[in-house]
């Protein structure tokens, strides 16, 4: 291990703001894009399900009228 303690790891011998901001941005963008992809899939499926249900209802009403 390159550090004596956890605090030494956080401090990065005075380079903490540089190291952690670069790593932090990377983590935010990677985790964010993975979560976005998952949320996108859920929204799409929910929207498509809703649309199909609406179409089915509309179809039934048409059948009643004729």
């Amino acid at each position: 291990m390159a550090f004596d303690s956890f605090l030494a790891l956080l401090a990065m011998e005075g380079h903490a703001p540089y190291v952690w901001s670069a790593w932090g941005l990377t983590a935010v963008l990677l985790i964010g894009s993975a979560l976005y992809a998952r949320a996108e899939r859920r929204h799409l499926l929910r929207d498509l399900q809703r649309r199909q249900r609406r179409e089915r209802h509309a179809g039934r009403e048409d059948a009643h009228e004729s």
């Binding site: 291990m1 390159a2 550090f3 790891l9 990065m12 011998e13 005075g14 380079h15 703001p17 540089y18 190291v19 901001s21 670069a22 790593w23 941005l25 990377t26 963008l29 990677l30 894009s33 993975a34 992809a37 998952r38 996108e40 899939r41 799409l44 499926l45 498509l48 399900q49 649309r51 199909q52 249900r53």
Partner: protein, 249 residues
């Protein structure tokens, strides 16, 4: 071979095969990125000149390499779409662009915060930095152009052409450090030569690069599948699939 390509170009077939591939790439990406991060941040020795600021390399180099790979992939997908009209290639190109832009931004940002403690400046108009900034603008141009047309097909074709033209920037980025001898150092990491770094610094970097690539493949598979659902929602097989997921809840 041609039959295989045409099969791969069918959204239905791609949707099925990617369902089986994507969990593996996600798992591999998470594993490699976690191992690489702990290794690079905690266990790799600090650099005798740069101290611990050198640990930025483990996000800077993978992001920069991947940002360029994304651009080439996007351009190849653009050619496939322009020449053979394969829709899946255009869907992939559409989802790769924002991720490529994000990786370019990571490379620029991490480079800036690495430059400050190492060179004493956030930014210089060095050839490597400038060509990378141009790549960010090219990505943003491709994304904007895609959305700037009333018809999706026109947007797709315009974005493909710009991606193709923009590839000219890739060799400029790659050779900028050799052609113009300015501030940015030449490549420290190549697949063809022995690295100039000690193994205990170089191995975690290799793990991170592989992790970034797996992440890119996993994300592109997942988001291309989303794009299929969006664009092919009127197709019978998508309707049946949606009805099936509704029943399962």
């Amino acid at each position: 071979m041609w039959a295989f390509i045409h099969k791969l170009g069918s959204p239905k077939w791609f949707y099925a095969i990617s369902a089986r591939l994507q969990p593996w790439f996600w798992a591999l990406a998470i594993l490699l990125l976690l191992v690489g991060s702990v290794w690079g941040l905690v266990f790799a020795p600090s650099d005798y000149q740069q101290g611990n600021s050198f640990r930025i390399i483990y996000v800077h180099v993978p992001a920069a390499i991947l940002a360029q790979s994304c651009f080439v992939t996007m351009a190849v997908a653009g050619v496939i779409f322009l020449v053979w009209k394969i829709k899946i290639a255009d869907m992939a190109a559409a989802v790769i662009a924002p991720f490529g832009a994000a990786m370019t931004f990571v490379a620029l940002f991490s480079g800036a915060v690495w430059g400050m403690p190492t060179w004493g400046t956030w930014w210089v108009w060095d050839a490597r930095l400038t060509s990378m900034l141009i790549q960010l603008f090219l990505y943003l141009g491709v994304i904007a152009l895609r959305g700037a047309f009333a018809s999706r097909d026109s947007g797709s074709r315009a974005a493909s052409v710009l991606a193709l033209v923009g590839v000219v920037n890739i060799p400029i980025i790659k050779y900028s450090v050799d052609w113009w001898n300015t501030l940015h150092q030449p490549a420290t990491f190549t697949l063809t030569e022995r690295p100039a770094m000690p193994v205990e610094m170089w191995l975690p970097l290799l793990v991170m690069v592989l992790g970034f690539y797996c992440f890119f493949i996993a994300l592109t598979l997942t988001r291309t599948r989303n794009e299929i659902l969006r664009r092919e929602s009127a197709k019978r097989w998508v309707r049946e699939l949606v009805a099936g997921t509704a029943r399962r809840g």
